[in-house]
């Protein structure tokens, strides 16, 4: 039997190469999309964790500020705590490299005199004297130097906030040798130089603590916390990584859910191709059974074939997933850096764990897809197998039951969601999954419905569409797979469109100033990227200025999470228009702001359970302050949550400081673009970004598009898989119905007529897929817009279906279905009349 199996598989491969290739492609695409997302997901925190390891190395604990920065005098207190073997102060900020778009250095100012003794990395021989005394000395990684074309001695112009400085490449230090995933943009300099050239006297960001031998970390941590009395927090490296993981959780889960849909569609494809292969080989299986093969042997034969198919698909899917991940690194990394303010993805790695996952996904998926048809075939009586097409009748009879099962799945998912809502975050995805399961199960019923349409009189496209139901089995699977892909495409398109619509409306409502001023490093460095007083002074001289809005911002621990807290001028005339409240009077909210209250963003309100009247506990350098919440405003910028306070409250919490952003309100009729040019010329010596309202809006939307880049890739993969499914099922039809086709030919049908029939069948599958997909997509869109977004990201978005885009996609799907039918139609039209057999009659 085993020898037969090998030969049977080889024969099968030869006989139906196109079928096999399609099925393999389906598995490959499914595996590829799952794998690419998992690669990105795992790499997402690699740079963060790697950088922690490369810099903090043997540090057992890190002392961090609640608002990101620390008073350097805490060093003495930390050193005083029993059990501390060393404490290394670190100044950290990401500085922009001037003249190189998007280039930046993750600068680390360390006490190099101490670090030379204790850090895991080493300065080159003789480097320390230079490092301390040569102005601007910085050590960069060899990888970055190679990328930027820097050599030792080269000068690098950088900026932090509006302040420029010239650094000098003093040495190449391979931090990635210590932690391969460490950011290549890490750059180390002496803390005195960092503070003086780019930072601020007295301010550091981190104190790395090494415990003395034999000291209990938990006890040391407790002693440090007691000594610091709430002025700073103490975390292990693991806790820091876990915290970053928490920040990214929703983003990562979202991607995983989308990639699983691709796998689902891929699984359909395998199911379809195994069915096709079995339908074609019924007689062969019948003969096998007749000569004594057991059911188990037949089952094993079929499953072994499926496993082989899965293995081949996996082998192709792994490089595909790797390439897809590589292609999307920039977009995902940009999102992580700009929206989550974590280190971006520096390198993608494919570990043995991920390869194992890919193999499991591909092979298990293929075997699972084949299980149903295989059991069916093995259960058949040998006579039934040899006879003919009873299988099809069964599918037809079952179409009602399938539909009922689908509806039951949907109902079960809804029930599960209702039961688990609020207690288990992924419950929203259960609901989405319910929709995606119900959609394909409705396919057989939908195709039967199609068959009830008017009876065409000519052998052509319409005939092909209508007679689709005659071969319900494979066409229903293809239509179902297509419907899932379409549902996903439509649902996500509507969600992205709605999001974009909501963001645009929100920007219209709240982006009211004429000119916006920030700095190249602001997006990443936030409170460390400040505008110099002379920049502010110059802004005040702008002709026609009616209001200057200044903003300070910190990343701070509040309400038990890391949020973005901004201070703005609560007294700015017309300033209430800067925020859009979910409810209540904005002017009253601004008045409350001036009185020391806070406004919280919708995501923060939802995640921390805040509402007007409750209190927001903010941890500042001086301890915890509970601010009354005066209102909840819309925000689509910070998933983790944001809050607004008056600048005076901000200064009370975090001390005096320079603003990081400014917005100019000009008199009506003033030419904003001309003012932008004037200011740029006047502030040439400062590192500032000056944009008009229109430009800023465009940039915000571009950033937004970037976050959905991966989503679009997954959509495209799903659609390609589904199109492959259409081709596959039509090929199956063409093969299964050779006899029928031959009869048509014998009765005088022309080749173009048969071609048209098959084209019609392809279009029919396309139509059914589209119709079901649209219904599913509508449901999915509602789930994504109304349930997933509020539950995961915390913001409510209004439904804005992008009809134009949806219409275009519908046409593209029909075109793809038609294109996918071309090859099978051609094959079918070539069926010679000589193939006429008894079966067809």
């Amino acid at each position: 039997m085993r020898r037969y199996l090998v030969r049977a598989i080889a024969k099968e491969l030869r006989a139906s190469r196109a079928l096999f290739i399609l099925a393999v492609a389906g598995v490959a695409l499914g595996v590829g999309s799952v794998l690419s997302i998992q690669i990105l997901n795992r790499s997402a925190l690699g740079a963060f964790a790697g950088s922690v390891r490369a810099l903090s190395g043997e540090a057992d604990l890190s002392v961090l500020g609640w608002a990101g920065f620390l008073d350097e005098r805490l060093l003495d207190e930390v050193l005083s705590v029993r059990g501390v073997a060393a404490a290394i102060p670190l100044w950290r900020a990401e500085a922009a490299v001037d003249g190189r778009t998007d280039a930046s250095l993750e600068l680390v100012g360390a006490d190099l005199l101490q670090a030379a003794v204790r850090a895991p990395w080493r300065l080159p021989e003789g480097g320390l004297g230079d490092a301390l005394t040569r102005r601007g000395w910085v050590a960069v990684t060899p990888a970055l130097a190679a990328e930027m074309g820097w050599r030792v001695g080269d000068r690098i112009p950088v900026s932090l906030g509006s302040r420029r400085a010239t650094l000098v490449v003093g040495a190449l230090v391979d931090l990635q040798r210590i932690a391969p995933l460490a950011s290549r943009r890490l750059a180390v300099m002496d803390i005195a130089q960092a503070q003086a050239l780019l930072g601020e006297r007295g301010r550091i960001h981190q104190l790395d603590v090494r415990a003395a031998e034999g000291v209990s970390l938990a006890e040391l941590r407790a002693r440090l916390e007691a000594r610091l009395g709430g002025r700073a927090r103490v975390l292990t490296p693991e806790q820091r990584t876990a915290e970053a993981e928490g920040l990214l959780a929703a983003f990562r889960l979202n991607l995983t859910a989308l990639s699983l849909v691709s796998l689902l569609v891929g699984g359909f494809l395998v199911y379809a191709s195994v069915r096709a292969s079995l339908a074609r080989r019924r007689e062969e299986l019948g003969v096998l059974r007749a000569v004594g093969a057991t059911r188990a042997q037949v089952l094993r034969l079929v499953l072994a074939e499926a496993a082989l198919l899965g293995a081949a698909g996996t082998a192709a899917g792994i490089p595909l997933g790797w390439l897809a991940a590589r292609a999307n690194v920039a977009a995902v990394s940009g999102t992580i850096r700009n929206l989550y303010l974590l280190e971006g993805i520096e390198a993608v790695t494919l570990g043995p764990g991920l390869v194992l996952l890919a193999v499991a996904t591909g092979v298990a998926g293929a075997v699972a897809g084949a299980l149903g048809p295989a059991i069916d075939a093995s259960r058949e009586d040998p006579r039934a197998l040899l006879a003919s097409i009873t299988l099809e009748e069964r599918v037809r009879a079952r179409s009602g039951r399938t539909l009922a099962a689908g509806l039951a799945a949907l109902a079960a998912a809804a029930a599960a969601h209702v039961a688990l809502r609020g207690r288990w975050a992924p419950s929203a995805f259960v609901l989405a999954l319910g929709v995606l399961v119900a959609v394909p199960l409705a396919a057989p019923a939908a195709i039967r419905l199609l068959a009830r349409a008017g009876r065409p009189h000519r052998l052509g496209v319409a005939y092909g569409v209508r007679t689709l139901g005659a071969r319900l089995g494979s066409s229903a699977v293809a239509a179902g797979a297509l419907a899932v892909a379409v549902a996903m495409l439509a649902g996500v398109t509507v969600m992205v469109g709605s999001f974009r619509g909501s963001v645009e409306r929100w920007l219209d409502a709240t982006l009211r100033a004429d000119v916006y001023v920030s700095t190249p490093s602001w997006r990443r460095a936030r409170s460390d990227a400040t505008l110099a007083p002379e920049v502010i002074a110059r802004l005040r001289q702008a002709p026609g200025l009616v209001g200057l809005d200044l903003l300070r911002q910190v990343q701070v621990q509040a309400a038990g999470r890391r949020i973005s807290l901004s201070g703005l001028d609560g007294a700015l005339p017309g300033g209430e228009r800067r925020v859009e409240l979910l409810a209540g009077d904005p002017a009253a909210a601004m008045a409350a702001l001036r009185g020391g209250a806070a406004l919280v963003s919708e995501p923060l309100a939802r995640k921390a359970g805040l509402a007007p009247g409750s209190r927001l506990a903010v941890r500042g350098p001086g301890g915890e302050t509970a601010l009354p919440v005066a209102g909840v405003y819309r925000d689509y910028g910070t998933e983790g949550g944001a809050a607004l306070v008056d600048l005076s409250t901000f200064a009370r919490l975090f001390g005096p400081g320079a603003p990081s952003n400014a917005a100019l309100y000009l008199a009506p009729g003033a030419d904003a673009e001309a003012e932008v040019l004037r200011l740029r010329a006047a502030l040439r010596d400062h590192a500032v970004q000056i944009r008009s309202n229109r430009t800023l809006r465009g940039e915000v939307l571009a950033l937004f598009e970037q976050t959905f880049a991966v989503t679009r890739l997954l959509q495209a993969m799903g659609l390609v898989i589904a199109a492959a499914g259409v081709t596959l099922s039509l090929l199956v039809l063409a093969r299964e119905r050779r006899g029928e086709l031959a009869l048509y030919r014998a009765l005088g049908a022309t080749r173009p007529q048969l071609f048209a029939v098959f084209l019609g069948r392809g279009l029919g599958i396309g139509l059914v897929g589209l119709a079901l997909g649209a219904a599913g997509g509508a449901g999915l869109a509602r789930v994504l817009v109304d349930v997933v977004n509020p539950a995961f990201f915390g913001w409510s978005i209004a439904l804005h279906p992008p009809w134009g885009a949806l219409g275009g996609q519908a046409l593209a799907i029909l075109a793809a279905a038609a294109a996918a039918s071309l090859y099978p139609a051609l094959t079918a039209s070539r069926t010679p009349a000589a193939e006429l057999s008894r079966d067809a009659l």
Binding site: L79, Q114, L132, I191, A192, Q193, L197, A212
Partner: protein, 369 residues
Amino acid sequence: MRCSPLAALIAATLAAAPAWRPADPAHRWELPRDHFAHPDHRNEWWYFTGTLAAVDDPARRLGYQLTFFRVGLSPEPPALDSAWAASQAVMGHAAVTDLRSRTHRFSEVLWRASPLLGGFGAPPGPGVAWARAPAGTPGRWTLRLEGGAFHLAMRDDARGIALDLVARPTKPLVLQGPNGYSRKAAQVGYASLYSSYTRLATEGTVTVGSETLRVTGESWMDQEIGSSQLAPSQVGWDWFSLRLADGRDLMLYVLRRADGSVDWRNGTLVARDGAARSLAPQEWSVSALSTWRSPRGVTYPAGWRIDVPGEGLRLVAAPEVASAENRSTLAGGISYWEGPVRLTGADGSAAGEGYVELTGYGEGTRPPL
């Protein structure tokens, strides 16, 4: 000559620094001005060693060492607006040798001189030098000059030692070498400005482990100022500071080459009244009697025969505790031997006490000077 096991990493980078002022043979000594730091010279140290006894139990004896080093990082202070901007580093070494339990505990600190971590005072003081205590211990190590007495304090809770002493000179300041210009090699330029108080009446408290003892005894203080002391061919030195029972004091140093041969040596004999006389090399000899191998695998001489025939001195110096090795982890892994010795005369009678310092033994332990 005093030890300075400075961080190899620091000195290696600065060996060629041109702008440091060399030791000046015509230095105009001025007190107490010259007890304070001389930042235009690269290196400087204040070295206290002594033998103490518990006030309540005179049989309970202890040796101690406390040294503050100033290490110039750059002759010009960096023009940087930061508390971390530093042109020098401060290093502290301290050791307490318990002659009863025969244990030796060593502690060290190394910081950049900054308002946060350590620094050096200027006249009128009283602060001469300070350094933040090592990690895990609150407070500072300090050296103050107040009312003509030196106030010393250090503490290291992790190693269980602390010193809080007042040391008052009982003999006048000795300038080692002509006008305090102490040459260290045959070549020109290898020298330091070197002054000593050979006897200081010392009292205060010493903490060893869980015990804090009120103590009294005698110390020796050295201050050296220079920019380049060790010649390229030299690897280290043997140095002796001995307070003789007859009231005289003897300082000897021998600079060694890699093969163990003597490259340069010098000595000073201080009379009871404080009058100092330089000893010519042919006037004295030192020979090791034995060796001791440290846990780090370094072999040091242990026990010496010291003869100054012209002065009628035939002494044997024996280490009180063999294991008085200071192993630095901060200063590039350097280790040196620094411990109290007991002197006996030719007839075996007690002839005084002192300290011996042995540097540059073992691999990679050449003091980077």
